[in-house]
């Protein structure tokens, strides 16, 4: 039984990891949690049946591997504690919420894999196979959305989150397009604004990037959905190639469940992408393999988000590499 600890529980995904780690086939067990806010750690531990560690090092000593799900800006200190203890890491996205954090995480000696569960979605895997077949030719353009509701908590606090919707949602589509086509980003332009009271960050944005091969790629990462909207979180991409186009809708596989009151819920079925990602991660570090999603991939997707944040602030087109310098 692999013992897993959580470094931080401020992130909305922390509870998802705990639930998913309890799936039998993973042969794993969530054991303990550390958070800089001890009250939060105690409440989280009580709710999810975990023990509380007093410091990151103490947590690492109790477990075989750690998942970093703290506030974005604390990732570097959490990862360096895991590196010092020699524990394999699964790091929640983004890989750093500032250029400094991203560089620090990229150079960590820790065995680190990044959490991009979209890579395990059936439509994404099928699209990747189709594209690898080569008959579609070169990518010309991609229009993508990853919209949802404001997650709440630290996501609205720039000092802890690094930014708003751009930091939260650009990376999923940015990584998926790299994963699908092998492209790299060259420039990005972003318009952003705050339309609802979500703190000191943007809640809506539209970004338009170019790739080194001359394609364009747009991403709508907005928290433009009301909190209780069924199926609020979307992940869609339209890709135009030399010899055809495709529309990819991750939510297209979900079923619709309607209650007697008419309320609609969209339900995933089968094993979720998060469980597949965890299985791949655990299998890799227990067998001494390489991280399934290396820090370098995390940094590439994250650098697009960081460059978009800079563009939104300056009003200029930003070279993605410059944003990391």
């Amino acid at each position: 039984m692999i013992r897993i600890g959580l470094l931080g529980c401020a992130h909305v995904h922390a509870a998802d990891y705990v639930a998913d780690l309890r799936v039998d086939r993973l042969n794993a067990r969530p054991l303990a949690v550390f958070d800089t806010d001890r009250e939060r750690a105690v409440a989280f531990a009580a709710q999810h049946g975990l023990t509380v560690a007093d410091d990151p090092d103490g947590l690492c000593r109790k477990v075989d591997a750690v998942i970093v799900v703290s506030e974005h800006r604390r990732y570097p200190e959490m990862v360096s504690a895991a590196a010092a203890a020699g524990r394999p890491v699964l790091c929640e996205k983004p890989l750093g919420a500032t250029p400094e954090d991203c560089r620090s995480l990229l150079s960590t000696p820790a065995w680190l894999s990044v959490s991009f569960p979209v890579r395990y979605a059936q439509p994404v895997l099928r699209a990747r196979d189709l594209i690898a077949g080569g008959s579609l030719g070169m990518l010309l353009a991609m229009s993508g959305t990853n919209r949802g509701a404001f997650p709440g908590g630290f996501f609205g606090i720039r000092a802890l989150a690094g930014g708003g919707a751009i930091i939260d949602h650009v990376v999923h589509v940015a990584d998926a397009l790299r994963f699908l086509t092998g492209c790299e980003y060259k420039t990005v332009y972003a318009e952003a604004g705050q339309f609802r009271p979500v703190g000191d960050v943007e809640d809506c944005a539209q970004i338009l990037a170019t790739t080194t091969e001359g394609a364009w790629a747009s991403i709508d990462p907005s928290w433009s959905r009301p909190p209780d909207m069924p199926g609020a979180l979307d992940f869609e991409m339209t890709l135009w190639f030399e010899h055809g186009w495709m529309h990819l809708d991750e939510g297209g596989t979900r079923g619709m469940l309607v209650g007697s009151d008419g309320r609609i819920a969209y339900q995933d079925h089968g094993e979720g992408t998060n469980v597949k990602l965890l299985a791949d991660w655990i299998s890799a570090f227990t067998r001494g393999g390489l991280p399934p999603i290396p820090a370098s991939d995390g940094a590439k997707a994250t650098s697009l988000a960081l460059a978009a944040v800079r563009s939104a602030a300056s009003g200029e087109v930003v070279a993605v590499d410059d944003a990391m310098a």
């Binding site: 010309l140 353009a141 339309f195 609802r196 809506c204 539209q206 170019t210 364009w216 709508d220 087109v317």
Partner: protein
């Protein structure tokens, strides 16, 4: 009707001209006297014969005194010149979008309109499309709160497959001037002036795919996808406000998808089922009825020259942004 119907001439005899011919035929205020075109489509030939419209030269048709109003449905790069000639001859003008291929041509149309006081309506039919009309009303009535984002798309097969001039960017302006201009005009109509534009385009001439990011004066961030690389005409919009969301698929085949045998690419680039739309919901018929009523002394239609020029400023800014690779501030044209 006690009064004489308006005598109307049609310039052009292609796909859009056929739509206008059919709608003029059923318009009680108008009678089509003649038409001029280099190439006449089968549909226009049949329609013109049915309503006894005579084919003549442009000079004959635009000779002062013959007609009261002209409908311009020729290739984009000829719009401005023909509109100016018609105005100089004392006619009212219904001009297909875009009003001109360039800002300079647009300025000329504005100058001639100012000196002749001619009435000029522009074919921004989306303003008469029920779903887009509703979307604007929800915004104007405050149903959606403050509008944060708008996403629109309009994709099609390449019309250059049928009409080669569409494939020459200097003549047609590509999908930006042919397709996205509808959505950009709707943005102006529903949300007011646009401050700046950033756009990107890929693909060879006649098969372009483009992306446009817009920032409105009111703060709304709007986004438009447009393409001539798709398998049929599809369009839609989503408006996200602080109080609600309105989303609609405006594709003309919404609610019905048909695949026929091995056929992958339809021969026509026009909306399928145009003739099936009931007349009271048909934007092409309504825009023309409204223009003819205006020419006949009635109220102004929803899209007039000022609107055509305003969206021309936006679409030419998008073209400039693509060329320069930078965001471009939208300047007034007049």
């Amino acid at each position: 009707m006690a009064r004489e119907p308006l005598k109307v001439g049609v310039l052009g005899a292609g796909a859009m001209a056929a739509v206008h011919f059919a709608n003029l035929a059923s318009c009680e205020r108008a009678t089509v006297v003649g038409f001029a075109a280099n190439v006449v489509s089968k549909e226009v030939e049949i329609l013109s014969r049915r309503i006894a419209a005579e084919r003549m030269t442009v000079d004959q048709l635009l000779a002062p005194g013959l007609i009261d109003a002209v409908v311009i449905a020729t290739p984009t790069d000829t719009h401005a010149d023909l509109a100016c000639r018609a105005m100089d001859a004392g006619m009212s003008v219904f001009c297909e979008k875009p009003v001109a291929r360039s800002r300079e041509e647009g300025k000329r149309v504005a100058d001639v309109a100012a000196s002749t006081h001619a009435r000029v309506a522009i074919g921004h039919d989306l303003r008469y499309a029920p779903e887009y009309d509703d979307a604007r009303r929800y915004i104007v009535d405050g149903l959606l709160g403050e509008v944060a984002t708008v996403r629109m798309f309009r994709v099609n097969v390449s019309p250059a497959n049928v009409k080669p001039w569409y494939g020459e960017a200097s003549r047609s302006g590509g999908p930006l001037f042919d397709m996205a201009i509808h959505d950009l005009d709707w943005c102006l109509w529903a949300l007011g002036p646009i401050r700046r534009v950033y756009a990107r385009q890929s693909g060879p001439a006649g098969k372009e795919v483009a992306s446009i990011v817009l920032r409105h004066d009111c703060g709304t961030i709007a986004y438009v996808d447009t393409s001539w690389r798709d398998s049929r005409l599809m369009s839609g919009l989503e408006v996200c406000g602080t109080e609600g969301i309105y989303r609609v698929s405006a594709s003309s085949d919404a609610g019905l998808q048909v695949v026929r045998g091995e056929q992958e690419v339809p021969a026509s680039y026009l909306p399928t089922g145009v003739s099936d739309v009931p007349p009271w919901d048909d934007p092409y018929r309504m825009e023309l009825e409204a223009a003819m009523a205006w020419f006949d002394g009635g109220p102004e239609p929803r899209a007039v020259l000022a609107d055509g020029l305003a969206v021309l400023a936006v679409v030419t800014a998008a073209e400039e942004s693509i060329r320069k690779g930078t965001p471009v501030e939208v300047k007034e044209t007049t």
